[in-house]
Structure formats: C-alpha cells, structure tokens
C-alpha cells in the first residue's frame, strides 16, 4: 500500500503522529478543543457543554496550556471580578484540520442522517472540506497515491 518506506526501518519513536497524540490524544482533549473552536472559553462552559468531570477538565486545560495550545488569559467583564479564560493560540488553531478530518469521517460513516453540522466558507458560502494535494496542485486520491520517504537518512 504505502510501503515505500521499508516497514521496520524508520524510527517510530519520533513519529509525528505519536507525538501529536501524546499531546492531544488523551480522552477529552480533542473535544475540549472542539468547543474552543466553537468559541467556548470558560471553565464552567466547557464543563456544562461537555459533561466532563471537573477534575479531568482541570487537568486537560492545564496540559493544553502547558503545551501552548490554549492560553490562560485574565479578563474582566464590566461589573464583574477578574476571571480568566482559555483561548486558542496559533498552535492550537492549527489543530483545526485534525478536528475537521475527524468530523468528515464521522459524517461519512457514523451519521444516521445528514451531517449534523456543515462547514461553509465565510466568503462564498460553499461547503468546505479537506483535500489532500501535492505542491504541483494535483489532487491526491488516497494513501495509495502517496509515497512516504524518510527525510533524514539513519545516522
């Protein structure tokens, strides 16, 4: 299939998939980020919307902040005391394609009806989806059209 890389030959320990999962692969992490992409910023809102145990939410937010995916910023609503909220950083925003990929797969294979949520281009209103493309501009149809190569020779 995709076996251009001799299968046992490359260093799994520095694999970016594993690395990313090490950061956002724990239970709830990606759901917290989903809510963040919907604009949720406050502890109590995450908790209410996700029905996540407080202790777990506390831990996940701390991890995401530690990783630089969320930032814990103080703010003050008028007439209220100072609070802080959790905002996506650029690093966090760049996880958007991951969420979209999960969503698209779910829409295709798990929906018992039409997709519950559709993404539209802000500018033109057309539906948005993820595509695999090469830099020459060709659409890449799937894993079989891809050849993985080790960037650095073993050494």
């Amino acid at each position: 299939m995709l076996g251009g890389v001799s299968e046992a030959s490359w260093d799994r320990s520095r694999c970016s998939v594993a690395g990313t999962l090490g950061v956002v692969g724990e239970k709830w992490s990606l759901l917290v980020l989903r809510e963040a992409f919907f604009g949720v910023r406050r502890f109590a809102d995450f908790q209410r919307l996700l029905r996540i145990p407080k202790a777990v939410l506390s831990d996940r937010l701390a991890t995401l902040v530690e990783q630089g995916i969320l930032a814990r910023v103080p703010y003050q609503a008028e007439g209220e005391r100072q609070r802080h909220e959790y905002r996506l950083t650029t690093k966090g925003r760049d996880l958007y394609p991951t969420l979209v990929a999960l969503m698209q797969w779910g829409d295709t294979y798990l929906a018992d009806g039409p997709a519950p949520l559709e993404l539209r281009h802000q500018d033109c209103g057309a539906p948005v989806h993820l595509e695999l493309r090469c830099e020459a501009g060709h659409a890449v149809e799937g894993p079989r059209a891809v050849r993985p190569v080790r960037a650095t020779p073993v050494g």
Copy 2:
C-alpha cells in the same frame, strides 16, 4: 471565532468528532492504523513495531474489525499454514486524512529537526499536504474563514 452556530444550541451528542473519537479515540487505535497504512498486517508485527501490550492490541484490533475499519482475512503463504491478517477496508482507508492531519501538526510543532517522514505524490514526487478548500475552489485559511451551520433545524 467560529461561533456562527449559537454555542449551546446544537446537539453535541451526535457530533461527528465525538463519534469518530468513540471509534478510534482509544489509546493505540490510531497508531495501529498508522502501521496499517504502512502496510503492516499481522498481529506479531503490530506488536513488535508498536511495543504495545498484547492484550491491548488484541482488544484494539477486535474493535477496529467490529467497526469495519479493518478486515480480518485468512490467507495462506506457500508452505505455511493458514493465518489471518488485518487489512484496511475502504472505511479504514478514509481515515488517512486524519492521520495526515496529526502528522502535519506534529511536524510543525514537535519536530526537533526536519520532519521524520515526508509524503510525496506517487505520480509527480511533489510533497503532499492537507488543504481546507471550499467547493468553489477557494483555499480556506483557517477556522476564522469557516462558518458552521446546523444541517437540520432542531426538531
């Protein structure tokens, strides 16, 4: 940010992100699939390459087969006894963008050097990457350029 959908208004219980994570969100599942995309098919190879406990691997493979993401197919190498191997189905192959998304993020933010693995277009050799595009063909630059809409009104 992305708050075109009033934030508390849509039904999280049927969210495709949550659904997909329910299927492939357990520890190891996506790493098993990563190996499957590299052409790994046999129990012992998954186990050796991932250093995953056998009991966990057994459970994850069973789940993935149950979900129709992998198929457990018998095969017989010449002079050997019948064995079975785990092959990606179409449903499984369609998780490729998810893996690529995780990989790209890791390459950007976690690598302490160049990306450990690069994906090239089989046909032209150019590097491959994921893009968010609308059906009108515009590149979508990020979450801010996307407006989520509920597909079905409440009811």
